[in-house]
């Protein structure tokens, strides 16, 4: 789509949706949200960018191949589960640390890194499908 309005708005919309997807991802720990839905929102952001500027622009923007991103997410999730081996608790048990950053206590957990892994798996695999479909459109 080559309308001027859309091409002008698309980068802002993409940036906004990307930020929102990260917000949803982090919110998902205690409230509705999470890696899966966050990943889907991020894919929609990339899809909007792709519709406005073409598939090549998206591929350049995300730098890595979508499937490599999915692989990274899968590895991150699997390693999050395996960390409990070091702690002597069964697989996938949530492990927490509570570091103080700038005077604020920030709880971090393997549950969260698992969810971030899910985010990347969804982002990578669905983007890969979306880009392939849009590429066929260009021909």
């Amino acid at each position: 789509m080559n309308t001027l309005i859309f091409r002008t708005v698309a980068p802002f919309l993409t940036a906004l949706m990307m930020m929102f997807s990260i917000f949803v991802l982090l919110r998902g720990h205690n409230e509705p949200g999470g890696g899966f839905i966050g990943g889907l929102i991020a894919v929609s952001a990339l899809a909007i960018y792709g519709i406005a500027y073409g598939v090549t622009a998206v591929r350049r923007a995300i730098w890595f191949h979508p499937l490599s991103i999915a692989g990274f997410g899968l590895a991150l999730s699997a390693i999050s589960g395996l960390l409990s081996m070091l702690a002597g608790v069964p697989f996938m048990t949530g492990l927490w640390i509570y570091p103080e950053l700038f005077g604020v206590q920030v709880p971090l957990a393997t549950v969260m890194s698992f969810d971030i892994g899910v985010y990347f798996v969804v982002l990578g695999s669905i983007t890969s499908i979306a880009l392939t479909l849009e590429e066929r459109d260009d021909d």
Binding site: G71, F91, T93
Partner: protein, 521 residues
């Protein structure tokens, strides 16, 4: 969020730390997922894929082998995910059956992985052969080791999705055609499985298999017959039993031969395993009721498959029917329901994993020798071209038809004996007749493809380099030798399958491993 305050967790969480050896239970699928993920990240370095993939499969063989040794010595093992007490946490439980299937499956996959170094060219590697193979093995081993019926469904999905990818590797027209049939019919089977799991949850309120096995003894007015019939239908579709087997001959000849080898060796056996685990272990009384149905299905599967083997000209299609023939034999063992019959069925499934993978690889090797010829009518002169390979093929053909010296004899003997013991002479007769027909079919292959002089246009010598020669011959030789060892020294495998069968029919040790507090007599 504040730091946690001390609460009594013993009502909800597993508080004892797992032993280091317990990790063997979860490691096979997790290792495969990790290797698959790393290979996906290295998608631009396809020259590394082969080495990393084969190393991953070798590691898998090691892990499942250690797991089998541990389970055979110390009884079933359980680990619940996330520390939640079962039945709330998802349990992974391995008994001898699961560990044995996982181990033999990994051996077959390793052999196919080495063969793939030659068979799968860089084009197909770019489509992701090795990552898909790793994820497929994650699904296969996960299905064998899980102790939760919904989790079993999830692993089925994992292996199904990866198998779609492997099936259409290269996206040729014929592959898409075969892939579509495979995909739709398997999705129907999986959906049926999922619906039945939902129904089961509605009836029992639990998905943990040990918990179901406990509750099924006391529950009243439950539609258990419907449940077990639905499960039988769903898993028979997965295992390619007659009348729902038509997807297999329609699709298994289309992909690369290594992919066919992995599919023929492993995928239908996952269906068989699920049948053993769910129908035999969880619904023993209903299986008894259904035994006539299962026996009729087994006989039809065997006879149709044996006739199919005789009728085919394309060797890959013939091997597809050989896979179905094996499924018929396993079903015959399940139909008898005795310890000897189930033990024979498990033994046959293991034998079938090894020999079906080897059969496809031998067909692939023959095609490499003769310049890509798959048709029996076009092959010839293989004995003159490669006598050692012809000798290995002969041993394997004897094994597939159930003759000594390799692994085919003992499972067939146990199955026939078990069928006669319950008075089902017609079942025993069907096993023997179908075995005889498959002997004719394979003897015909040996006669025409090996002894007949080579046709003029076929180059007698293969064009492979020395290193590639090793890579295609080694996996075939290893599989045939394992099968031969199986046949010559049957005591060890048979005692293992015996204990696998008795733990299926009397799962108290399995239940105790999940619920140590509810010790059942």
């Amino acid at each position: 969020m504040a730091a946690p305050t001390p609460v009594d967790l013993s009502a909800a969480l597993v508080l004892t730390a797992p032993l280091p050896g317990d990790w063997l239970l979860i490691l096979p699928p997790v290792t495969m997922i990790l290797f698959g993920a790393v290979l996906m990240m290295l998608r631009n370095r396809i020259q590394w894929h082969g080495g990393i993939g084969v190393a991953g499969l070798a590691l898998l063989v090691l892990e499942t082998g250690l797991l089998l040794a541990r389970v055979a010595a110390g009884g079933p093992l359980t680990m619940t995910m996330g520390r939640w007490l079962p039945p709330f946490g998802i349990a992974f439980t391995a008994d001898v059956l699961g560990a044995l299937m996982a181990f033999v499956a990994s051996v077959a996959a390793l052999a196919a992985g080495i063969f793939a170094l030659v068979d799968i060219d860089s084009g197909a590697r770019r489509y992701g052969f090795f990552p898909f193979l790793m994820l497929l093995m994650a699904g296969v081993t996960g299905a064998f080791l899980t102790g939760d019926i919904f989790n079993l469904y999830v692993w089925f999905e994992v292996l199904l999705i990866s198998s779609f990818g492997l099936l259409v590797l290269g996206s040729e027209r014929e592959q898409i055609d075969g892939g579509l049939k495979y995909a739709i019919l398997n999705l129907v089977g999986t959906t049926l499985f999922l619906i039945t799991v939902g129904y089961l949850y509605g009836v029992f309120g639990t998905l943990n298999m040990a918990d179901i096995a406990l509750k099924v003894r006391t529950i009243e007015n439950a539609p258990l017959m419907t449940l077990s019939a639905l499960f039988l239908m769903a898993f028979a579709m997965k295992a390619a039993a007659f009348p729902v087997n038509f997807w297999l001959p329609a699709s298994y000849h289309t992909p690369r031969i290594t992919v066919s080898a992995i599919f023929g060796g492993l995928l239908t056996k996952v269906g068989v395993y699920a049948l053993l685990r769910v129908v035999v272990m969880l619904f023993p009384l209903q299986r008894e009721e259904l035994s006539t149905v299962i026996a009729v299905v087994a006989i039809l599967t065997m006879v149709i498959a044996a006739l199919g083997m005789l009728a085919q000209d394309d060797l890959r299609r013939m091997a597809g029917f050989a896979v179905i023939l094996g499924i018929g034999n396993v079903l015959a063992g399940i139909a008898t329901g005795t310890t000897a019959g189930i033990s024979g069925a498990v033994l046959y499934a293991l034998h079938s994993m090894l020999t079906m993978t080897a059969l496809y690889l031998i067909i692939g090797r023959a095609a490499l020798l003769s310049g890509g010829e798959w048709r029996l009518s076009g092959l010839g002169g293989l004995y003159a071209a490669a006598p050692g390979f012809a000798f290995l093929s002969l041993i394997l053909f004897l094994a597939v038809s159930g003759l000594p010296p390799a692994s085919g004899l003992w499972p067939k003997v146990s199955l026939v004996k078990a069928a006669l013991d319950v008075g089902a002479w017609w079942l025993a007769g069907a096993i023997l007749v179908s075995g005889f027909l498959s002997t004719i079919a394979l003897a015909r292959v040996f006669l025409l493809a090996y002894w007949r002089p080579a046709p003029e246009r076929v180059p007698g010598k293969s064009t492979l380099g020395r290193r590639d020669q090793w890579r295609v011959n080694l996996p075939v030789a290893v599989l045939v030798l394992v099968s031969l060892g199986f046949g010559l020294l049957p005591e060890q495998p048979m005692s293992l399958t015996q204990s696998a069968a008795s733990s299926l029919l009397e799962p108290s040790a399995y239940i105790r491993s999940v619920f140590p507090q509810k010790v059942t007599p």
